[in-house]
Subunit: 318 residues, 2 copies
């Protein structure tokens, strides 16, 4: 199976829906800022999950589209605000929202996407599930904020444990994967047991995804990932790689140094090779546990795609 083709086909459906759900309108610059990352691409992995889990439990993938768009908008809202906090200048190969529209503009663009996401769901002709789905999304957003708060606090801490790191990325990243998988299931008519399994599948895969993201930040080509390479090292982010290296007494060149040179990053990558390998294994562990959650479902095409998609999350090169 060509899992990328499966993802891309659904990404296209989401792209078209985004145009319908968040069109350009006055104040034009506000909505340009809102749409900036959305139209710059993005892999649409979370929406894709929602469509697939909807199909997995016997629903029509199409019915999950507006929910999936809302999830992607929530994701993009967090990106806009995170980029302000992290002072990142590149995202998806384009300048970050705050570098174009200023911090004020980026705060507002994020806030607008946030409310539009909820607005979309409330406007779906109800099957009585909208309030429940909004509840899951709202709770997820609170957790995302808690995770981002922890992430910022970690920068001021000398030592962060692996356990603390995993709690942080679970909140900051993985719960939205969990929510996407569960909400897709709800739209498709999942039983309570199925919903729980889907949430866990999404969450565990999301942890794997984030660890892989941290790895890519260090090893991938800037042009391919569309953001500054080694930005986590420069910003002094305590990723699993860094935590493992520190606990092994490795000093990382350029860590937390805004003036780190490309050479610093090069030698950091070399020194971190063992920690990268350790993190890669951890990522695969989580994804494997996630895949096991799908054991309760009968074999079907969607299940096959979801299993391959899980692997893709930790094998992808960008």
């Amino acid at each position: 199976m060509d899992v990328r083709a499966e993802i891309d086909r659904r990404a296209k459906i989401i792209d078209e829906a985004i145009e319908r759900y968040i069109p350009l309108k006055p104040p034009l610059e506000l909505y340009k800022a809102c749409r900036h990352y959305l139209v710059a691409g993005g892999k649409r992995l979370r929406p894709c999950l929602a469509l697939l889990t909807c199909g997995l439990v016997g629903g029509e993938e199409n019915e999950a589209v507006p929910y999936a768009v809302a999830i992607e908008m929530i994701h993009n809202f967090t990106l806009i605000h995170d980029d302000i906090m992290d002072k990142d200048s590149l995202r998806r190969g384009v300048p970050t929202v705050h570098t174009i529209w200023g911090e004020e503009g980026a705060i507002l663009a994020g806030d607008t996407l946030y409310s539009k996401a909820f607005e979309i769901i409330t406007k779906i002709e109800s099957k009585g599930i909208n309030s429940e789905c909004i509840g899951i999304l709202a709770e997820t957003c609170s957790l995302i904020c808690e995770g981002q708060w922890m992430d910022i606090e970690f920068e001021k801490k000398d030592v962060v444990s692996e356990k603390e790191y995993l709690e942080m990325i679970t909140k900051k990243t993985a719960v939205l994967y969990g929510a996407a998988a569960e909400i897709g299931g709800i739209v498709g008519g999942a039983t309570p047991q199925q919903r729980k399994a889907l949430y866990e599948y999404g969450k565990l895969c999301g942890i794997g995804f984030q660890i892989q993201d941290d790895i890519l930040d260090i090893v991938a080509d800037e042009k391919v990932i569309g953001k500054d390479r080694g930005s986590d090292i420069v910003e002094g982010k305590k990723t699993l790689i860094v935590i493992h290296a520190m606990s092994n007494g490795i000093e990382i060149p350029g860590f937390g140094n805004p003036n780190a040179t490309p050479e610093d990053i090069e030698s950091a990558v070399e020194l971190l090779s063992e920690s990268i390998e350790y993190s890669r294994k951890k990522a695969i562990d989580f994804v494997t546990r996630g895949k096991n959650m799908l054991d309760i479902f009968d074999e079907c095409y969607e299940k096959k795609v979801l299993l391959e998609l899980a692997d893709y999350l930790v094998n992808r090169g960008f």
Copy 2:
């Protein structure tokens, strides 16, 4: 009738509910930042409206409490983010959230309040109205962002018309008053006609409230309003007062000058006296139109309070 006593009695109910709905929990500093303005006071005018309109249409005021808390949280979230953008240092007599927790902390605290507001509503035992109420609130939040965006754009424009100003404050401030009045009505079982009237009542009174707020920024004592006096003048905000003065060829001392002295503000107030009077009249006009919206309701105690509350919005000294 002592309208302040009516407001204060309901404010106390809201204060207690806030403690229940958004308790201190880890990460402690995040939730401290979220609660900072909420526990620093605030008049609770919007929640008060929601309770009263619920009672007006025959509902139990108590049932509107969680919705009213959500509305107050939305209001507080916008204050936190606005204060970052406006670089204000004082609010409700306490340092602004970003001056204590930094911009990052303030962005996240606002985002968290935002999601908690929606979370609260989805957790209310449903009478089938929750999705609808969330829809109104989400749409309102989008409009608030559009209004704030316009407000920021006005700073860069040489001339702003009265019409543009009214559109801006309608979005930035008045629609949340409208939503509060309508949502209270929905909880109480209002008919579609009643809902519409309540929304208009709230919106028109909200316009009056904002004009009065702009007046107070200039004329009231800093200790009483709990924020920097004349901050709108220093920031170069094009309020109705300023628009009127400019169209009459008045040059305002200290306007848009971060180094304006208290003497500048003093002489600005004197020069603006006619424009302040003009704005005061406009505010009363709007509130009068708002009150007329209540004509369709039978006489009752809640109606009496709502009429007096409308007057209070433009007569208050802080």
